[in-house]
């Protein structure tokens, strides 16, 4: 039989078709993909003895207690600590991946110096060179020398302040979310500083939430849920998006995006007119105060915020000035805090409802706490409040911040030739813009002290170091010591060779003060005064314990409400603390859309999407595939808006704000209000496939990025 060329081609064709319908290509593809998971340079946990240890998650101010499963001493699994007080074993997705961070592909393993050209344009350098360059810049700059402390409350913060106190024109900067949280703003509404304030959840029976993620990570995941579950708490939530908190609240009242202030002002007016004002509210010029709120009629609130009078009245009627009601704002950590005026308007409700001394209490100052060192000599300021172009040298420590700091906001604060130094374990976010990058220890490779949420009683947990960080990691205390030597700066209260020593110093101070209580899961709380030694405190914290400060004693909660029309300037006794300039807060207009931008861009994503250094890369995949959190390259839009604007989901769309644009695809989402675009913050890494970050479209006032006027066009 003669085989022709045509026969041969037919045979090959048949073979090709048959091969396609056989397992050969598909099996090879699949096995090859599995093979790529086992490349020798991919780290795998070594085999060894299995054990479980308690620790804290150091990634954000929630400082959740965690249970860490280790194999051969290496963490392989992290879960919530079931018996941790107020946590119910809950843990966010970022916390569940904290043990993966030492293996981050963008991990910094040597000091890096920015060089011209290339992306991101760094070259390895020695620590000596880095210290020399930073010291020289501090010596020569004409601008402010500042340290950006992403996690205020750590003992490291005291060392930072002491270091800066060695020269003039210095300050510690903190992320806006740390100073524009509810309690720090309420503290500012007093002529006489009441000291740090905290919400006492044991007293609170009603919370009015203004876009705060109260059931989704505020304080700790599960903290408010637990009290709601026990029937001890009810929650009214004013929020534009049907968030998880809105879904689970006793009552969710949808509002127009960005109108929290209008709702708060309208509620305040109703409380005033109905006489539901606590006698403890001692504003000096009550008539002027009432007059300032008078324009915020239910009709105006409806026009601005979309909340009708019946609903507003229903909420107002449920609020009694018993002192057990508290209003909380704050906002999504990834989207940043509310503007100060909005938060202040919300906090006025706490004053009207008599929360001070009841639901909100002053925290006792701690004597000789190294974390507070030099706080009287070096100012702590909101990053957004620093004059533009004023910072000559900035050392940014955002490793465990749990807060978003948009680069455009930081960039405008830097002087033209300013030096930005980033202390970070991962080359991500602000580190990509730094002149010097100093490698610090990732979570679970060194011990970190973990202070709690700024709205809650001062607390401290300890995150343990499970595996060695490596010789290349720089201890921030060692860096300060080297800089101090180069600049002739000596610290007094925070003298230590390493962060471990500094934390031991703090534990000794806390034990000496004898204040507060240590809670260990599954055991009875122990008063600090009854603990024998600082070493015992350390061992309790290493066992997953949590130290929490005591709050000031409560005032009487049974004082009668003031009748409508009472003139408090004549009848009320002088109060030790008076709110200031409340009329100005009330009189300011609520924000609105900018001409030419017909939509709102709402930036969210929760604490899990705040910073690249705190995110295991697997979370991007999880977020994108599960819809767990809003994602940067996906614009979630209400189906009605999709239809009215002709937004076809299979096309790419350009979402523009006055500051820039990001290309996204559209995903219809009925939980987003009409006319709004919901997108997640996108921590930026050195890897090339990251999308743009909506956070970087921050508002031109340099203070907000949670809600931006936007338009959408086909890309």
């Amino acid at each position: 039989m003669k085989v022709s060329r045509r026969d041969m081609l037919m045979l090959l064709g048949g073979g090709a078709v048959g091969t396609i319908f056989s397992p050969i290509p598909w099996k090879l593809l699949r096995d090859s993909s599995v093979w790529t998971q086992n490349w020798p340079w991919i780290p795998v946990p070594k085999r060894g003895a299995a054990a479980t240890a308690a620790s804290a998650c150091p990634l954000c101010p929630s400082a959740c207690g965690v249970r860490v499963r280790t194999i051969g001493g290496r963490p392989v699994m992290v879960a919530g600590l079931p018996d941790a007080p107020g946590q119910r074993g809950a843990l966010c997705a970022a916390g569940s991946g904290v043990h993966q961070l030492p293996w981050h592909p963008d991990r910094v393993r040597t000091p890096l110096r920015r060089v011209g050209g290339g992306s991101p344009g760094f070259e390895p350098a020695s620590l000596e060179d880095a210290v020399g360059a930073i010291a020289a810049a501090i010596r020569e700059t004409q601008g402010t020398v500042a340290i950006l402390d992403g996690r205020p409350g750590r003992v490291l913060g005291g060392a930072y302040r002491e270091f800066l106190s060695g020269r003039a024109d210095t300050c510690v900067l903190v992320p806006p979310s740390a100073v524009r949280a509810s309690m720090p703003v309420l503290r500012k509404l007093h002529t006489r500083d009441p000291g740090p304030l905290a919400v006492d959840l044991d007293v609170v029976d009603t919370i009015v939430g203004f876009s705060a993620p109260l059931l989704d990570g505020w304080g700790q995941p599960g903290l408010v849920q637990q009290r709601m579950h026990e029937g001890r708490l009810r929650l009214f939530q004013f929020e534009a998006v049907q968030s998880r908190t809105a879904l689970m609240a006793d009552r969710w009242i949808p509002i127009t995006p960005g109108t929290e202030r209008a709702v708060a002002l309208g509620l305040a007016r109703m409380l005033i007119r109905s006489g539901r004002v606590s006698p403890a509210f001692g504003y000096a010029d009550f008539k002027a105060f009432v007059a300032a709120y008078e324009p915020w009629t239910p009709r105006r609130v409806f026009e601005v915020a979309g909340v009708d009078e019946a609903t507003l009245t229903e909420v107002a009627d449920a609020l009694a000035p018993t002192g057990r009601v508290v209003a909380i704002g704050g906002g999504d950590p990834a989207g940043g805090p509310l503007p100060f005026e909005d938060e202040a308007s919300i906090q006025v409700l706490n004053l009207l409802l008599g929360a001070m001394g009841q639901a909100v209490k002053a925290q006792r100052p701690l004597a000789d706490d190294p974390a507070d060192a030099a706080s009287d000599r070096v100012a702590t300021r909101d990053l957004c409040d620093v004059p533009d172009g004023s910072v000559g040298v900035l050392i940014a420590d955002l490793a465990m911040a749990g807060a978003t700091v948009p680069w455009p906001i930081l960039a405008r604060k830097m002087a033209p030739q300013g030096l930005l130094v980033s202390l970070t374990p991962v080359l991500a976010d602000l580190a990509l813009h730094a002149q010097w990058v100093i490698p610090t220890a990732p979570a679970f490779t060194a011990a970190h002290d973990c202070p709690g949420h700024p709205d809650l009683p001062r607390s401290l947990r300890l995150a343990r170091g499970f595996t060695p960080a490596g010789d290349e990691v720089v201890d921030p205390v060692d860096l300060l010591n080297r800089l101090g030597t180069a600049l002739g700066i000596e610290r007094q209260a925070t003298v230590a060779d390493a962060l471990d020593d500094l934390m031991a110093l703090r534990l000794r101070a806390l034990h000496r003060a004898g204040d507060g209580t240590v809670f260990v899961a599954g055991k009875d709380p122990v008063a600090m005064a009854e603990i024998d030694s600082p070493e015992d405190v350390l061992s309790m914290l290493r066992a997953g314990g949590c130290w929490r400060t005591a709050l000031a004693a409560a005032a009487s909660a049974e004082e009668p409400a003031v009748e409508a029309g009472d003139d408090q300037t004549e009848t009320a006794p002088p109060r030790p603390a008076m709110p200031f300039a409340l009329e100005q807060v009330a009189a300011k207009d609520s924000g609105g859309l900018v001409n030419g931008f017909q939509m709102y861009l709402i930036v969210g994503g929760g604490v899990e999407r705040t910073a690249g250094v705190a995110r295991s890369p697997i979370l991007s995949k999880v977020d994108q595939e599960s819809g767990l959190r809003p994602f940067a390259n996906v614009a979630r839009v209400n189906p009605a808006t999709v239809a009215s604007h002709g937004l076809r989901p299979n096309r790419r769309w350009r979402v523009s704000t006055p500051q820039g644009a990001i290309t996204m695809r559209i995903e219809p989402d009925p939980t987003v209000p009409p006319g709004a675009i919901l997108a997640g913050a996108e921590p930026q890494g050195a890897l090339p496939w990251n999308a743009g970050n909506p956070v970087d479209l921050a508002a031109p006032d340099g203070k907000t990025w949670r809600l931006l006027p936007a338009s959408i066009t086909e890309a």
Binding site: M10, L11, V17, P23, V34, W35, P45
Partner: protein
């Protein structure tokens, strides 16, 4: 000729190719599950128990086997060889474990058996009724064992080329009404 090529490729792909993908190694010694489960009246947990702390003990040690087989019970040459080579010499059998998992997947017998109330057969099929144990087969590319699950897993008829896949897990979770968040298995 087209048909010849088609049939040839299909035959090669479905019959010849799959075994080529796996290297095969015999276990150090054979074992008869059927005798133990049948005549001896034993249950799976007698040799594969959960420890007091709740964790799964896996394969029995030689010392555990010696509790019954310090001396031969029957006249099986395999039993005699086992006693001579392992019990008397105090050696552990170097079993080639079929259930080798990818390092990025975490599996807990406790969660499935103690909490989920699954029977052994739901995942391991009729393994307990076999007279011999199969050779240990390793995929030449991925390096994973072939006989992790089997056709009985989740009631899914697997292709001859298949090993246990993530779909197998998620199908079974779905069948039993369990949620399957990623981090539950991928720690």
């Amino acid at each position: 000729m087209f048909l010849a090529g088609l049939i040839g490729a299909l035959a090669f792909g479905w019959i010849v190719f799959p075994p080529l993908m796996y290297s095969s190694t015999e276990q150090p010694i054979q074992f008869n599950h059927k005798i133990h489960m049948g005549e001896a009246g034993m249950a799976c947990a007698d040799c594969h128990p959960f420890r007091d702390d709740g964790t799964f003990a896996g394969l029995p040690t030689t010392a555990q086997c010696a509790e019954c087989h310090e001396e031969p019970i029957g006249d099986s040459p395999l039993e005699k060889a086992f006693i001579d080579e392992y019990v008397r010499k105090g050696r552990e059998v170097e079993w080639l474990v079929y259930s080798r998992q990818p390092m990025n997947a975490y599996f807990s017998h406790v969660a499935h058996v103690t909490v989920g109330k699954l029977t052994c057969e739901e995942c391991h099929g009729d393994h307990g009724a076999t007279e011999t144990i199969p050779p240990y087969q390793v995929n030449r590319i991925s390096g994973y064992s072939r006989a992790v699950g089997g056709a009985a897993t989740a009631g899914r008829a697997l292709l001859p080329t298949e090993v246990m896949r993530m779909d197998t897990c998620s199908d079974c979770h779905e069948k039993h009404g369990r949620r399957s968040p990623c981090l539950e298995c991928h720690k």
